[in-house]
């Protein structure tokens, strides 16, 4: 039972991170290698609001998430929009340098010391007993709940709201969408904001639950294995991808070798690339076949 709980918690974290990859990929066909660093920035935004604005989590957390979303808009406006028309690889490299810049900015302001924002908010993280004998921390439960809420909210937004439908249209065929009067730059900026918001949410939860230091970005690299296994352009596939990758990772930690567990997402990724490169639910046409 403990293992199952561990898988679900890890998968939720991966879903929160993977949402960012999928949204950005759908909007601009770019793999955002800075997603993990956006998560880290979200965590530090929480630390910043807690220490400077208010220690109340009801003020600090929404403020940190708003900062996260704003960073996403800025990134689109300053870095990704000028890259329109350049080769995709160049845009990916820009996200790499964005990741470097974010990490450096954080180290310059907060040094690379490990921080714990949770005590600063006067909150504790009590263990929760689940039926079946497994124990998780309270914030683990919050992580699972917010991953579910985020996915549910995104589904409703993309399927039902006018703006969401426009967003899907712009992602599918920007030229056609623009012809019909859709301002796709605004929508792409919104995609980046949502992606960065999801990353910040993951960062806030992880920083409160575990720890906060500038090297959190590595988690993001693991999460793109999740996005690829599920299909880079499929939000629904994320859940399956996250569960598969998290299961493999937890099983290797418990039964094989903790060192190997760090690479197990990448082994899943390699296997997926060999067998079904477009992922479980990805669009096959997305992959330019040779």
């Amino acid at each position: 039972m403990q293992a199952v709980a561990g898988v679900v918690v890890l998968a939720s974290l991966y879903v929160l991170l993977g949402v960012g990859y999928v949204l950005v990929y759908r909007a601009s066909r770019v793999l955002n290698l800075a997603q993990g660093d956006l998560m880290m920035v979200g965590g530090y935004a929480l630390f910043a609001t807690v220490t400077t604005v208010s220690a109340s989590p009801f003020i600090a957390v929404p403020l940190a998430l708003a900062v996260g979303a704003a960073v996403g808009v800025l990134v689109y406006a300053l870095l990704m929009r000028p890259m329109a028309g350049h080769p995709v690889f160049a845009a990916v490299l820009v996200t790499v340098s964005l990741g470097i810049l974010l990490r450096v900015a954080v180290v310059l302001v907060y040094t690379d010391q490990t921080r714990y924002p949770l005590p600063a908010m006067d909150l504790s993280n009590p263990p929760v007993r689940l039926p079946g004998g497994a124990a998780v921390s309270a914030l683990d439960v919050v992580t699972v709940a917010s991953a579910a809420a985020l996915l549910g909210g995104l589904f409703a937004f993309l399927r039902l709201s006018r703006l969401g439908i426009r967003m899907r249209a712009a992602a599918e065929r920007p030229l056609l969408a623009a012809q019909r009067g859709i301002d796709f730059h605004a929508l792409f900026a919104l995609s980046w904001a949502l992606a960065s918001f999801a990353g910040a949410l993951a960062g806030v939860l992880y920083a409160s639950n575990v720890r906060l230091d500038p090297s959190l970005g590595i988690l993001g690299l693991k999460a793109f294995a999740v996005a690829l296994v599920g299909g880079l352009d499929s939000l629904g596939g994320l859940v399956a991808g996250a569960l598969i990758v998290a299961t493999v990772e937890v099983l290797t930690i418990r039964h094989v070798n903790p060192l190997l567990s760090d690479v197990s997402p990448f082994l899943c990724l390699l296997l997926m690339l060999l067998v079904r490169p477009w992922g479980l639910w990805g669009t096959r046409e997305e992959l330019e076949r040779v």
């Binding site: 820009v94 470097i100 990490r103 310059l108 690829l228 060192l259 690479v263 990724l269 390699l270 690339l273």
Partner: protein, 355 residues
């Protein structure tokens, strides 16, 4: 000024010549003589910098062959370096193998790894290929760290100074000559690739695969060849790195190293030999340049904690600036400046930029 026009050649010999004008021959001779006598005049620190640049140049040229010429994206460059370095480390540690055994072994390991990574490139393109190479990087690093953990080299494997034909390579000057010669050979290879069937096939594949195939280029074979050639060179660079540093450890081959090499070819100018060399020099010397500036502004005192992030950030910022504003890199700037000087006071650009 004697300056090759680039499109007025009267013989095939002139068209194929590596250095075609007197000015260029003179410049090349000066460079070679300069590099040969440098150890007599320069301080050990300067020599060390040139040596590091030479080693970085080999890696950058190898990556440039794969990404710049053949157009295959690789995010696994540090993995190849790591494979070469650990081949040397493991062979010297376990069987005391001499360099004449370990270097070819490193090349073979690199080649096999390149083949393994290259095979998916036959099916995958662009981002997906990049992801595959990145995954390979983590797998290679895992194998290396597993070796370190299993055999009790927690911090790393030390490699004794190699002995070839009775000469023990340990001093900085010796390594300067070895690595500069290696870099020059690689440069020569890289320049020649642009004039030979292989390099031109790679460029054709880069531009448009279907067109290349219809011209009779065996796309699959040349793609694999690009991966193998690049990874053999990179693994060799890694092997020499291991001997030069006399120490191998997984920590030295993180993803940041891959980014550094990509930054070299991006800042230098994708697809150009000169660009890879300029980029290697730029990225290697940048941190020392920042050190010097900071030292001049705030003399004395210990290095402040923000110095390291500052260096890292400067390099990230420069890479972003080059990608956004100057995709042709340093070599693009150089070409524009040269054209401007040659044509002055006229302003018309030549019909075709020359090499």
């Amino acid at each position: 000024m004697a300056y090759g026009s680039g499109y007025f050649k009267t013989t095939y010999e002139a068209d194929m010549a590596l250095v075609d004008t007197r000015l260029r021959r003179l410049a090349l001779a000066t460079l070679i003589v300069g590099l040969a006598v440098l150890p007599r005049v320069a301080s050990p620190f300067v020599l060390e910098l040139v040596t590091q640049t030479a080693l970085a140049a080999v890696g950058a040229l190898a990556l440039n062959m794969l990404t710049g010429l053949a157009g295959q994206i690789s995010l696994g460059h540090a993995g190849f370096l790591c494979a070469g370095a650990f081949t040397v480390g493991i062979l010297t540690e376990s069987v005391k193998a001499p360099p004449l055994v370990t270097l070819p072994a490193a090349a073979v390991v690199g080649g096999l790894l390149g083949l393994v990574v290259g095979v998916p490139s036959l099916r995958l393109k662009g981002l997906y290929l990049a992801l595959g190479t990145l995954a390979m990087h983590f797998v290679v690093l895992y194998v290396a760290s597993e070796y370190q953990a299993r055999w009790g080299f927690n911090t790393g494997v030390s490699v004794p100074a190699p002995t070839v034909a009775g000469v023990r390579f340990r001093s900085g000057v010796q390594w300067y000559y070895v690595l500069v010669a290696f870099a020059m050979l690689t440069t020569f290879l890289s320049v020649n690739l642009g004039r030979s069937r292989v390099g031109r096939a790679w460029m054709a594949i880069h531009d448009r695969e279907i067109a290349a195939a219809s011209l009779g280029i065996a796309v699959a074979r040349y793609k694999l060849l690009a991966f193998v050639a690049s990874s053999v060179l990179t693994a060799l660079a890694g092997a020499l790195w291991a001997y030069y540093r006399s120490f191998v450890s997984v920590e030295a081959f993180s993803f940041v190293v891959t980014i550094e090499f990509i930054a070299m070819i991006v800042i230098g100018g994708m697809g150009s030999t000169l660009g890879a060399l300029l980029g290697a020099g730029f990225v290697t010397l940048l941190p020392y340049g920042i050190d010097a500036v900071v030292g001049a502004l705030a003399p004395g005192g210990a290095a402040p904690y923000w110095l390291f992030p500052l260096k890292f950030g400067a390099f990230g910022l420069l890479m972003a600036l080059f990608l956004v504003f100057e995709p042709l890199g340093l070599v693009g700037i150089w070409r524009r400046a040269r054209t401007w000087v040659v044509l002055w006071p006229l302003r018309y650009a030549p019909l075709r930029t020359v090499r």
